[in-house]
Amino acid sequence: MATAETTALRTAPAHRSGLWSWITTVDHKRIGILYGATSLFFLLVGGLEALLIRLQLAVPDNDLIGPELYNQLFTMHGTTMVFLVGMPIAVAFFNYIVPLQIGARDVAFPRLNALSYWIFLFGALLMNSSFLFGAAPNAGWFGYAPLTGEQYSPGLNIDFWVLGLQVLGVASIMGGINFITTIINLRAPGMRLMRMPLFTWMALVVSFLLITALPVFAVALFFLTFDRFWGTKFFVTSAGGDPILWQHLFWLFGHPEVYILILPAFGIISDVLPAFTRKPLFGYAIMVYSGILIGFIGWGVWAHHMFATGLGPVADAFFAAATMIIAIPTGVKIFNWLATMWGGSLRFDTPMLFCIALVGMFTIGGISGVHHATAPANLQQTDTYYVVAHFHYVLVGGLIMGVFAGLYFWLPKVTGRMLDERLGKLHFWLTVIGVNLTFFPMHFAGLLGMPRRIFTYSSELNLGSINMVITIGGIITAIATMIFVYNLWRSLRHGAPAGDNPWNAHTLEWATTSPPPEYNFGRIPEIRSREPMWDHPEEMIAAAQHVPEKPIHMPSPSYWPIFTAFGITLTAALFLTKIWWTPLLGLLWTAVGVVNWAFEPLER
C-alpha cells in the first residue's frame, strides 16, 4: 500500500509531468505509450484511406475519386498500415511489456529507445506531409521500378516515399538492436531463455528480423533514391539495369517484414490465452522453436511474390517448396493454441474472443497463402483481389485481432483502469462481422477477375454486388473501430480500477502495480518458473512492490534523442530541395546531436 512517504521515495525529481517530460522521456513505459498512441492515430488515418477506396469501388464506373488520388490512397493505405501502424504498434507492446516480463528496469539503451520513437514520428510526418503538396506517394506500397524511377514518376511523390521510408528504417534497426541486447542481457536472475514469456521470445525473433531485413530495404531505397536524384543506372533498362533487381531486394526485405508484422501478434495471444483457459501454453518449447524457424525460413521464400515475373522453373520450384514448408511451423502454432484451449476452464472475456478470432481468421489467410505458394495457380491469383483477400486475412484477421487482444489485456496494466466489457464485446462482434464481410468476398472477386489497384471497374464485369458487400463490410469495421476508440477514451476517464492482476495471469508484469512505478520493480525478483505469477505469486509481488529504502536512480531524461531524430529527418527532407549540399546541414545537426549525446552521462 502506498503511503505519503513511499510515494515520495517513488517519485523521481522534477519533470514528471507536462509536455517537456514526455519530450525528454527515456522511460520504456512512456515510450511505449507514445508509440501506441501514434500508431492508433495512424490506424485511423490508414482506415480513412481504406474507407475512401471502398466508397470509390462500391459501385462500377464510379467517379467519386479519380485515378490520380486513388493511386495515392491505396499506396498510402498500404504504406501507413505496414510502416506506421503494424510495426510501431508491435514496438509499443515490446517497449511497455518486455522489460516488465523479464524483470528489468528499462531497456538496454534508453536514449536510443527514445530516438527510435522520435524518428518514427518525424518520418511519419515527413511522409504524410506529401499530402500538403498534393503529391502523396502513388506507386504502391512496394514501389516497383521502373514505375518509381525518374522517367515514369517525375514528381515529388516517390521522393517523399523513398526519403520517408529510409528515415523510418533507421528507427527500426535501432529498435531491433535495443531489444536484442535487452532480452539477452537484462533478464532477471533465474529468467533463463526457456523461461521467458512467449511474447518476449517473439520480440527477440522479430528484433533479429528487423536488424537483418531493414538494411536490405535501405540499400534498395538508396538505389532508387540515387537513380531518381543523381542519375545512377540501377533500374534503368537502357543502361543494362534490371527492374527485377528492385523486386528481389524489396521482397528480400518484404517477406521477413510480414513475419515482423505477425510474430508479435502470435506472441501476444500465446501470453493472453493461458489467463483465459487457466492452463499454461501448450507446447512451450515447440512454440519457441517454431517462431525461430519461421523467422529463419522466412528468409528463403521471398521470390514467391515474383512467380509472375518469369523466374524460370527451377527458381519457381524452390520458392514454392520453401513457402509450403514454412506453413508447417505456422500450422504447429495454430494447433498448439487450440490445444491450450482444449480442456481448459474457458472464460470468454474480450481478450479471449480476439485470440479465438485470430486463430480462426489467420488460418483462413494461411490457407489462401498456401494457394499462392502453388506457383502455377499463383499466375491466376497474382494482381487480383484474391491476393488482397489473403493478406488482409492474415494482417487484419491475424495482426489486428492480436493487437486488440493485447490492448484489452494489457491496457489495464498501463492505465490502471479496465476497458468496458460490454463495449468490448460489441467492438469484437462488429469487427468480426465487418472484417469477414469485407475480405471474404474478395476471394471470389479475385477469382472472377477483379484486378488490384484499379480505381474503377466496368459494370460488365458483374462485380458490383460483391464490391457493394465489401464496402458495407468496411463501413461496419469503421464503426466497430470507433466503438473501440470510445471505449478507450471512456476507460481513461471512468474505467473500473484494474488492480494489479485483473486477469489472474501468469507472467511477471502482473506482479507490479497498475501502472508500475518508474523503476518497475522495488527489488528485482529471482525467477524459478515459466509461470511466476501462478507458481510463486506472493514472492513475485513482494519483490515487485517492495518499497525501496534508498531512491533507485533511473536514466535521466534527455532532449538529445529528439534533437538527433530531427536532424536525421531534416537531412532526408533537405534532399527534396534538390540542392546537393543542403542535406549536409542536416548531417551537421545530426552530428551535433550525436556528439552531445555521447558525452552526456546516462544518469545525472
Binding site: 542481457n185 536488424i211 540499400v219 543506372k233 544518469e603
Partner: protein
Amino acid sequence: MEHAATHETATGLPTWKLGFWTFIGSETLFFGSLISTYMVYKGASVVGPYPHEILNIPLTTISTFVLLMSSFAMVLALAGVQQGNRKQALIWLAMTAGLGATFLAFQAYEFTEFYRHGLTLSTNLFGSTFFILTGFHGAHVTVGVIWLTILWVMALRGRLGPGDALKVEVAGLYWHFVDVVWIAIFTLVYLLQ
C-alpha cells in the same frame, strides 16, 4: 544508491559490446546487399569505361595494405588503453586514424582519376555500383576516423583510462569491421574482374 544502469547483466557480458556486435551483424546485411548488386551487375554495363580499363591494382594493393595495418594499429591502441599506457594509446590511436585517413586519400585519388577517365555515378552500371559500394565504405571509414580522433583527444586530456577501455574496444570493433568489408571488396571488385 542503486543505479538502474549499472546492475549486473544476465550473461556477464558488457551491454555496450553486445549491442555493438548486433549492430555489426546488421551491417553485414547492408554491405552484403551492396556487394550482391555489384556482383549481379558485373559485366552488364552497356557502355564503358569498363573495370579492366581503369582499375589500378598496384595502387589499390597499397591502400589495402594500409587499411590492414591500421587494424594492427588499432589493436595496439586498445592494448595501450587497457594497460593504462597513455603514450602507447596516443601513438597508436593516431596511427590508426592516420592510416585510415591515408586510405581515404587513396580513395579520393582513385575517384578523381576515374572521373577524369569518364567514369561517374551515372555513366554506366559499373560507375553506379562501384561508386555506391566503395562510397558507402568510404563514408564508414570517414566516420571511423572522426570517432578515433575524438578518442585521441579524450586520451590527450587524460580522459581515456583503463576504465574506459570498453569505449575503445567498441571503436575497434567498428574499425576492424570496416577493414573486413574492404577485404571482401578488394577481392570481389578488383581481383575478380
